[in-house]
C-alpha cells in the first residue's frame, strides 16, 4: 500500500481502519494537487443541520443511539450527540462500532488493526441506530456495519449519516443524512480531517496516484475497484 490508487479504496477509510497505514498515506498522497473543498465552519453547519434532521425524522431522537464507525465516524458521532443534547436538553447515547472483522476485502491486505467497539449500556434492541461515518463511497463499509449490528442486537431501525457522499456506490445503499454531496471521479481521493484526530477540520479533495500501483484494478479480487466504502 504505497501509491494511493482509487481502486485501492478511499484512503480516508483505509487510514481509519488501518492506523499503521495513515502515515504512509500522508506521505504518499502528500496532497499533491489537492484542494480544500470544505472549511471548518461549513462542517460545523452541516453537522448542526444533520442533528436537526435526525430530531425531525425520529420525533425528538428519544430512542436514538449514535454509533460512529472508527476512526473518523466516532468523533463525528460525538459531535452530533452534543448537538442533539443541546437542542433537546437530554443526552443521546453515543458509541462506536468497529467493522473490521466484517469486511469483505480482508483477504486482499495484511491483517488490519481492530478499531474499538463500544455499545452504550442501554443496548440497541428496539432502538433506532444512526450509523455515522465520514465518507460514503462504495457502500461496503455500511454493508459490513449492518452485519456487525445484527450480531449485537436487533434495532427497530437503522439509519445512516455521513459527512460526505462522494458517489460511486457498488451496493444498494444510500444515506439518510448527508452533509455534502461531492461529485468525484474514482481517480480522486477524498479525505475528511477532524480536529480530534488530525488537529484541524477540513474536507480535502486530491488526485490519486497513477495506475499500476499495488491493488490496481488488475489485481485479483478487486475488479474495477473493490474499495470498501
Amino acid at each position: 500500500m504505497h501509491a494511493v490508487h482509487p481502486a485501492d479504496g478511499d484512503p480516508s477509510r483505509r487510514a481509519s481502519t488501518d492506523l499503521t497505514a495513515s502515515t504512509d498515506l500522508t506521505a504518499s498522497t502528500d496532497l499533491r494537487a489537492s484542494k480544500t473543498v470544505w472549511e471548518p465552519a461549513e462542517i460545523s453547519r452541516a453537522l448542526t443541520r444533520i442533528a436537526h434532521e435526525i430530531l425531525e425524522r425520529t420525533d425528538g431522537a428519544g430512542e436514538v443511539i449514535l454509533l460512529g464507525i472508527p476512526t473518523r465516524g466516532v468523533p463525528l458521532a460525538h459531535r452530533l450527540g452534543e448537538r442533539l443534547a443541546q437542542v433537546e436538553g437530554r443526552a443521546v447515547p453515543v458509541g462506536s462500532l468497529d467493522i473490521t472483522m466484517y469486511r469483505d476485502d480482508l483477504r486482499l491486505r495484511p491483517a488490519r488493526t481492530l478499531g474499538h467497539t463500544e455499545v452504550p449500556v442501554t443496548g440497541i434492541d428496539g432502538r433506532v441506530v444512526v450509523l455515522v461515518d465520514d465518507v460514503l463511497y462504495s457502500g461496503r463499509t455500511v454493508r459490513a456495519a449492518l452485519d456487525a449490528l445484527s450480531d449485537i442486537g436487533r434495532p427497530r431501525g437503522v439509519q445512516l449519516a455521513v459527512l460526505v457522499d462522494r458517489g460511486h456506490r457498488e451496493l444498494p445503499i444510500r444515506a439518510d443524512y448527508v452533509g455534502k454531496n461531492l461529485p468525484t471521479s474514482q481517480r480522486e481521493v477524498v479525505r475528511v480531517l477532524l480536529t480530534e484526530i488530525d488537529g484541524q477540520d477540513a474536507v480535502v479533495l486530491g488526485e490519486g496516484g497513477g495506475p499500476g500501483g499495488p491493488g490496481s484494478p488488475g489485481s485479483p479480487g478487486s475488479p474495477g475497484g473493490t474499495a470498501v466504502r
Binding site: M101, Y102, R109, A111, R112, L114, H116
Partner: protein, 307 residues
C-alpha cells in the same frame, strides 16, 4: 508479524502488543448475545495434538469457531500416528486437505519448527516438549495487563518446575520483551542448566521473593516428565516451594496469583489460595480464548502474500 508462531522470542514488542490489543477488543465479544464473527469463514484450522491436552485444544477450537473457521481435530491416539505414520507424512496429509493453519502440540521440542518447513499454512505452536508454549505466555501477559493495568516494570515471580516447563520459558522470553522483571524461584535441580543465559533473575527462597512480587505464577510439578529424583518427597517440595495461605499473606495487597493449569492442589498451590480473589486461574482460561482468537486473526485474517 511472522507467518508462524513458534516461539515467544519471534515476537517483537510491537507484535506482542498488537496481539494483546487485538485480544482486548475480541474479549468484549464474550458479553454479546452472538459470540461469532464471520472473519475466517471458509478457512480450515487443524488441531494436531500428539500429547494429551484438554484446555489448550478446547481453547484453540473455541477461538477458531468463534471466528467461523472450520476446525479439524486430530489427536495422535487412535489415528494413523498410532499406526506408525511420521510427522512429515501427517503434515503432507493435512496439506492435501487444505489446512490454512495447523495448531500443533508435540512431545518433541522443535516439532512445530520442522512442521513449518513442510506445510504451506501457518503453524501455531501449542506446546512442544519442554521448549515453548507461546500462546500461554501471551494469555498470561494479557491477564496481568488486565488485572494490573501494565506490564512495563511489573515484578513477576515464576515458581516451581522450570526445567520441564515450556510455559516458564515462553513467559520469560515474552515478559522480557514487554519490559517486565522476571524472577525464577525453584529447587536447583529443577532449573535448566542454561538458565544463566535467560533474561531473568534466579532465586531459591520463595518466602523472600513474595513480598517483592506483583505477580506470582505457580508451575505444575510435571511428574509425568520426571524420570529422576529431582526432590526428596512431594511433601518437602510443597513445604519449600508450595504457595499456601501463610505464604500468600506475604504478597503485596494488589498482587495476583496465576497458574497455567492443570493444578495439583496441595502440591504447588493450596486450595484456599487457588480459590482466593487474587487468583486469576479461571480468568486465564477465558482470556486464553480471546488471545488465541487474536493470534488466529492476525495470522489468517489478512492476505496470504505476507511474509
Amino acid at each position: 508479524m511472522n507467518r508462524h508462531l513458534i516461539s515467544a522470542a519471534d515476537l517483537s514488542r510491537a507484535d506482542a502488543l498488537l496481539i494483546l490489543d487485538t485480544a482486548e477488543e475480541l474479549a468484549q465479544m464474550a458479553d454479546r448475545p452472538i459470540r461469532k464473527l464471520p472473519t475466517l469463514r471458509g478457512r480450515t484450522v487443524v488441531n494436531l495434538f500428539y500429547e494429551d491436552s484438554t484446555r489448550t485444544r478446547i481453547s484453540f477450537e473455541a477461538a477458531a469457531k468463534r471466528l467461523s473457521a472450520d476446525v479439524i481435530n486430530f489427536s495422535a491416539k487412535g489415528s494413523s500416528v498410532a499406526k506408525g505414520e511420521s510427522l512429515k507424512d501427517t503434515a503432507l496429509t493435512l496439506e492435501a486437505m487444505g489446512a490454512d493453519a495447523v495448531v500443533i502440540r508435540h512431545g518433541a521440542s522443535g516439532a512445530p519448527h520442522r512442521l513449518a518447513g513442510w506445510v504451506r499454512g501457518c503453524v501455531v505452536n501449542a506446546g512442544d516438549g519442554a521448549h515453548e508454549h507461546p500462546t500461554q505466555a501471551l494469555l498470561d501477559a494479557f491477564t496481568m495487563r488486565r488485572r494490573l493495568g501494565r506490564l512495563d516494570g511489573l515484578r513477576v515471580t515464576i515458581v516451581g518446575d522450570v526445567l520441564h516447563s515450556r510455559v516458564a520459558r515462553s513467559n520469560v522470553l515474552l515478559l522480557a520483551t514487554l519490559g517486565a522483571e522476571v524472577t525464577l524461584v525453584a529447587p536447583p535441580t529443577l532449573l535448566p542448566v542454561a538458565v544463566g543465559g535467560w533474561p531473568c533473575a534466579v532465586g531459591y527462597d520463595l518466602s523472600a521473593a513474595l513480598p517483592k512480587s506483583d505477580v506470582v505464577m505457580m508451575l505444575r510439578v510435571q511428574q509425568e516428565r520426571m524420570n529422576a529424583a529431582y526432590f526428596p518427597t512431594v511433601r518437602e517440595y510443597s513445604r519449600r516451594y508450595g504457595l499456601d495461605a501463610d505464604r500468600a499473606a506475604l504478597l503485596p495487597e494488589h498482587a495476583i496469583v496465576m497458574h497455567p493449569g492443570p493444578m495439583n492442589r496441595g502440591v504447588e498451590i493450596a486450595a484456599e489460595v487457588a480459590d482466593s480473589p487474587r487468583s486469576t486461574i479461571v480468568e486465564q482460561v477465558s482470556n486464553g480464548v480471546s488471545v488465541r482468537m487474536a493470534v488466529l486473526y492476525l495470522l489468517l485474517g489478512g492476505s496470504e502474500a505476507q511474509g
